[in-house]
């Protein structure tokens, strides 16, 4: 029985779904790939938070000009492909700004990582801004009115009364954005950033095992994102239950 399975596995061709023979030798590509992808995604979303809050507040401003700037930014970044944005940022500003080729943790090349993070953060801030805006708008308007009626300024009302309540709406959506980012960031491979997808591609082209490295990449992405989104759902449900109490 065991021999039969071993023989079947040994006989698997390069295009087979289950041919994971590359693993013993090339597992490190996937380990570094996972780390790279997670680092890229987390840093990008974190960097996006402050600009996104600014964009959201600008979008909610009464001043047409300020509102317009924020609206235009969000429209541009949401209506063009991420790969295009990435390419423009990489070959535009970062062909002028020369970053030193420094390896972080031994495998993160700063000169590619930083443009990638900035592009992803700029893109993400457009989406996160809409998350913030929706979260702020979901807070009852009477809250700001009550704050203002006590003599608090608009900013104090926002900071002390509205935002703390909006966080509850924002956090789950922000976590979902992180899940999206883990998937979407696979596009940075196109610019030679060594994320999980790049690892899969490199292994495939080195070993001539064309399919299974991508299958493994898919399994890894799934194993990160599926539990994460389930956890977010559970937290969301608990928060909603808290509301009804």
């Amino acid at each position: 029985m065991f021999d039969a399975i071993a023989a079947w596995y040994a006989g698997l061709g390069p295009a087979s779904f289950f041919n994971f023979k590359f693993l013993p030798k090339y597992a490190v590509y996937f380990v570094h790939g996972i780390e790279y992808t997670l680092l890229l995604s987390v840093v990008s979303v974190l960097l996006a938070i402050i600009p996104a809050l600014l964009l959201a507040l600008m979008r909610l401003s009464k001043n047409r000009f300020i509102k317009g700037i924020s609206g235009a930014y969000i429209a541009v970044f949401r209506s063009t492909p991420l790969l295009v944005q990435l390419s423009i940022i990489y070959f535009g500003p970062f062909s002028v700004i020369r970053l030193p080729v420094v390896q972080l943790f031994g495998f993160v090349d700063i000169s590619r990582f930083i443009p990638g993070v900035i592009a992803l953060a700029l893109n993400s801030s457009a989406y996160v801004a809409e998350i913030f805006r929706a979260g702020i708008l979901a807070v009852d308007g009477g809250q700001m009115e009550a704050a203002r009626s006590l003599g608090l300024s608009k900013w104090q009302g926002m900071k002390l009364v509205v935002l703390p309540q909006a966080v509850k709406n924002i956090l789950p959506a922000l976590a979902n954005e992180l899940v999206t980012m883990v998937k979407e960031s696979s596009i940075v491979m196109a610019l030679g950033m060594q994320d999980l997808m790049w690892g899969a591609k490199t292994v495939a082209s080195t070993t001539y095992i064309t399919l299974a490295p991508y299958v493994l990449a898919a399994i890894i992405y799934f194993c990160i994102n599926f539990p994460a989104s389930k956890a977010i759902e559970a937290v969301e449900r608990r928060m909603r239950r808290g509301d009804q109490r």
Partner: protein, 249 residues
């Protein structure tokens, strides 16, 4: 009609339009509020009562006309409205307590944040005020644990913590279960007896008659009639007033 003669709020020719003039909520309203008065604003729904009240502390910006508070034109964009709002407490129909803070924090928030007193002093004052409305035991509760009547009494206390010179009430009992209306009116009555200047948009005719020093009747965005409660209810001058009173009394 003024009680002490000193005018606190002076509203002149205030008009408020919504939806770019499609809706005229207020149409050329002028009124004076003197210190110590308890003015009850009544009228059918949609008559502009709440809009007029909200124009007094500029939660609603008049389309035209002026509002003076202590002789200062607060409708002037150069006026720092936040400074004047401190002296005008407001109580809302839906309480608008801050759900993420304890009762004590709700009350102490504005005085401490605005640097009027220390956290400790603010809490001490808040406790004293809570004592007055019989809710000292709720200081550490969150608003979600309170009944409507308790919430509204705390909303009143929260406004009082700023030591306002006038209190604006926007249908303070309309969202309450009937058995809780009394406890809120009781607090308001006490306030009135202590000499607080009050402007109250209300459907409680009993309160208007008993506590009010003046009743203002509004319809269609205009102030149609105003008088002392005795005169107003006994001898309404306008046909619209007569019609309205016949429906609500």
């Amino acid at each position: 009609m003024a009680i002490s003669g000193e005018t606190l709020i002076q509203v002149r020719h205030v008009t408020k339009e919504f939806s770019k003039g499609a809706v005229k909520a207020l149409d050329d309203c002028s009124i004076d509020i003197a210190k110590g008065e308890v003015v009850a604003i009544i009228g059918p729904s949609g008559s502009g009562k709440s809009t007029l009240l909200r124009c007094l502390n500029l939660l609603e910006t008049p389309t035209s006309g002026t509002v003076h508070f202590h002789g200062v034109d607060i409708t002037d964009p150069k006026t720092d409205i936040d400074l004047h709002r401190r002296k005008m407490g407001m109580v809302f129909q839906h309480f608008n307590l801050f759900p993420h803070m304890t009762v004590l924090k709700n009350i102490a928030l504005a005085p401490t944040q605005l640097g009027l007193c220390s956290e400790e002093e603010a809490q001490k004052k808040a406790m004293a005020l809570l004592e007055r409305v019989g809710l000292a035991d709720k200081a550490q509760e969150y608003p979600i644990r309170l009944s409507g009547g308790q919430k509204q009494r705390i909303a009143i206390v929260r406004a009082l913590a700023m030591e306002p010179e006038v209190m604006l009430f926007d249908e303070p009992t309309s969202a309450l279960d009937p058995e809780m209306v009394g406890e809120v009116l009781e607090v308001m009555k006490e306030l009135a007896h202590e000499g607080m200047t009050m402007v109250v948009v209300t459907h409680e005719m009993g309160f208007a008659r008993e506590v009010g020093t003046r009743v203002v009747f509004m319809d269609g965005g205009r102030i149609l009639e105003q008088n002392t409660p005795q005169e107003f209810f006994a001898h309404p001058q306008e046909q619209r007033t007569v019609d309205f009173l016949s429906k609500v009394l």
